[in-house]
Chain length 434, copies 4
């Protein structure tokens, strides 16, 4: 809201649709309050609406961000596998938790895609929900003509790390993340950088020194790894770099759950690697705090400070309405931007945004040994989409079983875990899979 | 030279290598004179060198622009086929003339590629010679690791036509060609635009009206079609648009020689379509005029006016040394930027230039009936490269025979024409093909 | 009928559906008469039926062979283009005649595919109608799950030529055509052999001598080229072999119309090359003779001599019901059997027939210069199917214009010819194209 | 030797080259003795030779079967990983053992390929050594023009199981394995059947009943699972069938090591699934017994009984010399026979053998969830070949780490195991990897 208010070239109506009507109302109030700020550069009208159809009618842009189910289901996703020795650092993207979460989410996205096809087929759709790849993929599966992409900020974090490296290693200060040119390729939360430069400097030789210097100790130049459950000392990133030669462009906790449990073979291993498992209890507390803040913002006890957050979505919208051209990384079906991943799977690369157009930039090939790590998830995700479309529970189990974090279980234990996780989330599942 | 002199962020040494040593000397003099101008914003040192190796040693950029053979050979290329009823509007790209010209040129480019591989493997190579596609392709065939691309200005002419249309149809004045966003796909001189916009306006509906309005009369808003042998009234472009739905992005005289002789079925047809055959006699006169001017510039009888010409090469160089990012159209091997053309064939699309990097932007698919017109030349060009590499004269004849302009000849006449054209250009051909 | 009667392992009911009810009745009578012959080894019941649905219900095999329109329309297909200097040797496969014929045929095949999908989705469908490739392709376009293939005898003729060559060059007598092992690749009537052997002998070196020996005179060892409008002296085949290195596996009159009019640049050129244009008047006389014979066979004035004709369809049926395995050439969608032709286009290669299964054998790549000749028609055919499905007359015109035999016409003449040919066949065209 | 002696249409010289010269001599004696048997139908000359070059000179066929290193190294391959909880049922194909074995074998095969390219480039090469896929792949990597294929008997075992099922379920007796038509697709030891028939009967519905009937108990109709270390009750096959819908066409002990340790999560799990881990101690005893027998056969204490063993290699040779056509399953580079596996990776499918020709039959696509299991190994194998070619130890470690059986180890333990296994086999490794 702050970013929109600060953007003088745009204005319009923001319709808020939420199955929690009260939440939409509060956001409506906050949004309209901000719009009246003296330092707001544009005026927006926020309006809570009571139906998806109303929200979509005549929309130019559709922004989707949902929580599938509640944190009670997420608790099962993330923590139930622990009784079989499986510790998931995040549990919302891949792993047994990510897959079960997807089972709740994908039927909802199927509905979104159908509604957009009916009511707003020409609108641009920006997805922020996890599992990002699967949600975006489902939109295209149902409505291949949709103009959708997934927007995620993990790569920006790695660009910030590279900027921080410039200061740490070369005393170059104040570099903005968008001054770091990167070629990005992979899938959301498991994206890789194979080329990075700052002005006329290739950053790879420098990163090699950087990784050597901080491999053992970790790097805490941006913040101490203990500062937050989301923070790390980048040791996983350094280890992957030393073995594969590429810079993995997501937080360590994400990276660690796309490979076999090399970095989470026990609940203590993450600590050695200086990153955190993200407990759902933390998320619940965080949610309470945010809800309380929302209420304060709505009733005027607290004010929003109008500062640009650097939200890329606003820049993307500006480009799509023809105000400028922009190159940034997004999640899109693979039309060849990554040559050695399957066609139409959703991948993350740079793309060129211009008036009513998003065109991927060719990112090239993933190197062989990284490719096999990524491809495994791509196949699993494609198979999950097809299994959900065909309502084939047995094929879903095969996908579940094939996740790298499941490798240590025998077939019987895997089946037991699958059924138990399903039962915990049954309220949000379609009939045929319960 | 003027563009370089006006570019304040660049400077350096320009080594001039020419098999006509005197020409290099004259250009050296002109260049160094310009560099001393008071209004020059950067100082360059021009130096004529006597060997390719000297020219290439430590080069950051290699710019290639040659005339293969003399206009005497070009006269045979362009005009000899006329005795079999074949009238070529240009004769340097495709058609019997383009193919014979390629036979003179490709062995030279083979040598260039080898020299660059030995002496300047990390340099960026910009090719300006025709046949553009084949020259660039040969560089990659010999040295796959080369960092080369072909730069051509025909698409810019179409962007100017669209800018002129904005003025003619909507009274929007002063639009610069780089404000016209286009998606470009095809091969050099037979490139197509399937999407064009200006700010937030889709230009296709407008172009449809424009083509309807001027289909019969032609459009002469930029200049009368009789103003120059290069000028046209765009009627070929309009006809192709009405049948195929895309805007062909090259001059009409180029377009007309990529299709069967629909627009040159007789020497008078071009006039009906309001474009010109380009006689080699004109080129010869033009050359004399330019040589005379060079001498005047070298000895100070005439001065260069320092005006930016808008040469894209300078902008590309700026991006490659890390001074900015740039999206523009270039000729590159197909790594997937055009999905339905063969891998590694040289194609023309937009690409993103940044520090030490040129990455194609995905251009999508050519529509079916345009695809078959383009693919025919792509196959012919790929086959010619292979035939030259394998020194297989019979396969070269098969390529020659397969050109659309050759369709009206029986096998025997085609063979006669082939041998006669070869004999006229024999001085410049490798032994095995004479 | 004779072949079926001689096949002791098969029997069943043959339902005859014909829009000419009387013709079906006559065939019913003939078939049932044959079935009563003493030397018949199996008994078949022939039954004329009055609806397609009746014909299809519970069918195991569906055999399709139709004449789209009458010879009056075919006369326009074949001979009308002559007034623009276009002489078509056959005119039922490609060329302006083949394309207009397809426009009459494809809507009928669309109906067949729909009927089979509804009534006999598990039946095997054997197509004998020309244009073979397009008819078979349409069946798959409408019903991708269809079990259909196209069966043509042209390749067998080339195998017979090779057997005759063995006798002529090496005095090896009595070789059966199925003893000649060939690898076949291409599209129907424009198929190529890149490997041929007899026992442990590679036939290519021998064919090279054979072609050299008979290049000028032609080869008439099977029959004189003047014996029939279908006969030739194989000079086109020899010329193609000398230039491309492969054996073109169809009659010369077919081959000559897939390339530009190299061998039919005037009405007299075929004679020089020792093959015939096939006039429709000949076909009409032939039809009358066959109708008269049918009547004699039906009323017993003449008897069928029970001799095996070598009809491959019967052997294919035997393999499909599990009686044996068989390798033979057929027309099928490209699943990769020809690597460098587009996926799903109908191509002709060998395939392995076994119980309820037809699997193509990998045929490899067409060599470059042959590939471009074949690909051009493949693209045209694929484009025609799509244009018919989308009812897009302008795209059909673009296909028509792109045929190699149309190259000599300017756009205006091409349009005139197109409209005139359409008008002559209007009675059999769908509304939208007339 | 017995099969050759019984084949009356073939004869020739068999040159025996072995780095154990004495072993070659003994085989020479045995072979020549057999050749003198009265019931031998053809006479062969066996000759031990002392160099590879002598063996290859003028060879028509090259048959390769080696043991890389000794059983001492194999002991480390198979059993050392057990101390990290990794139990490998075979350990010669995939898994840590298969990969280390490959490191010993691939440099030898590189040498074979070079020698064949120099001395016998036109010979047909039949490989019997494991790891089959990697050995065959290396031959093609070094000499792409080689005419090689891998021959393995595991699929035949599954055909025998289907024949036994016919007897057990339907009382159809005496079916030969080559009467069972199967479509085979996958990689060696992890091949799948997606279509099987006997005469006009589809065997899949029957196999479904069969798998249901024997899922719990296992099927011991061919022999009790306890009869041999190679025997099983096919429970793994039944479990895979129930989950994936295809019949896995190799012994259960092979199948179990291509998936994560679902069936070998502990040393006792195989027993539950009724198959055996194959201890190397057993192999050593077996080798002693076979060596003793060889000596008895050589000195005439024991005689060979001339019985056909059904060795497919002899039938393949007969087809390749033009004596017949044959369809059978082999290991070949992927030219498209399996659409969704990478090009040129070695895969196992049916192929058509004829004079001097082996052409794969199109096998179609692996279903999604089987594909991901197979693709993982295909990528690993392709990556291993490249890493060996480039002598890149770190990439070999990445391959090792990526094997499904390694999933339970953290990075550090994996590195420890890798180095220890290398040290045990160091005598047979190239310098750069020790």
């Amino acid at each position: 809201m702050a970013d929109l208010a600060l953007e003088e070239q745009l204005s319009g109506e923001v319709r808020l649709y939420d199955i929690d009507t009260e939440a939409a109302r509060i956001n409506e109030t906050i949004g309209n309050r901000i719009s009246q700020y003296e330092d707001a550069k544009s005026r927006w009208r926020y309006r809570a609406v009571s139906s998806l159809e109303t929200a979509l009618t005549n929309a130019d842009f559709v922004i989707i961000s949902i929580q599938p189910g509640t944190f009670r289901e997420m608790e099962s996703d993330v923590h139930l596998p622990e009784k079989f020795g499986i510790y998931q650092p995040v549990g919302d993207t891949v792993g047994p938790g990510g897959i079960i979460r997807a089972l709740r989410t994908l039927p909802i996205y199927r509905g979104f895609a159908e509604a957009i096809r009916e009511t707003a087929p020409e609108a641009w759709v920006i997805n922020y929900t996890n599992p990002m790849t699967l949600c975006t993929r489902m939109l295209y599966e149902v409505f291949p003509g949709i103009k959708a992409f997934g927007c995620c900020h993990e790569v920006f974090g790695t660009q910030k790390l590279l900027a921080s490296m410039l200061e740490d290693m070369l005393d170059i200060k104040g570099t903005r993340r968008d001054e770091i040119n990167t070629n990005v390729l992979g899938i959301n939360h498991f994206t890789w950088i194979d080329k990075a430069s700052y002005k006329n400097r290739d950053l790879f030789p420098l990163f090699k020194d950087f990784a050597d210097t901080y491999y053992k100790s970790g790097y805490e130049g941006l913040r101490p790894w203990t500062a937050s459950v989301f923070a790390s000392a980048h040791r996983v990133k350094f280890d992957l770099f030393k073995r594969y030669g590429l810079i993995a462009a997501a937080g360590d906790r994400h990276l660690a759950e796309f490979v076999p449990p090399w970095y989470v073979s026990s609940p203590d291993t993450p600590q050695e690697w200086k990153f955190h498992l993200t407990p759902v209890s933390w998320r619940i507390n965080d949610m309470y705090a945010k809800q309380a803040q929302s209420e304060r913002l709505a009733n005027g006890e607290e004010e929003v400070e109008l500062q640009p957050s650097g939200e890329e979505g606003v820049q993307q919208i500006k480009a799509l309405v023809g105000l400028k051209n922009l190159t940034t990384n997004v999640n899109l079906p693979n039309y060849g931007q990554i040559e050695n991943l399957p066609s139409l799977a959703v991948v993350e690369t740079n793309a060129l945004f211009s008036f009513n157009s998003v065109r991927p930039v060719l990112a090239g090939n993933l190197p062989r040994n990284v490719h096999t790590l990524v491809a495994r998830h791509v196949y699993n995700q494609e198979n999950l989409i097809q299994a959900v479309m065909r309502k084939d529970k047995e094929q879903i189990f095969n996908v579940f079983l094939n996740d790298p974090f499941m490798s240590r279980l025998c077939v019987h234990d895997a089946r037991t875990l699958f059924e138990e996780m399903l039962s915990h989330t049954a309220a949000y599942l379609p009939e045929w899979i319960k």
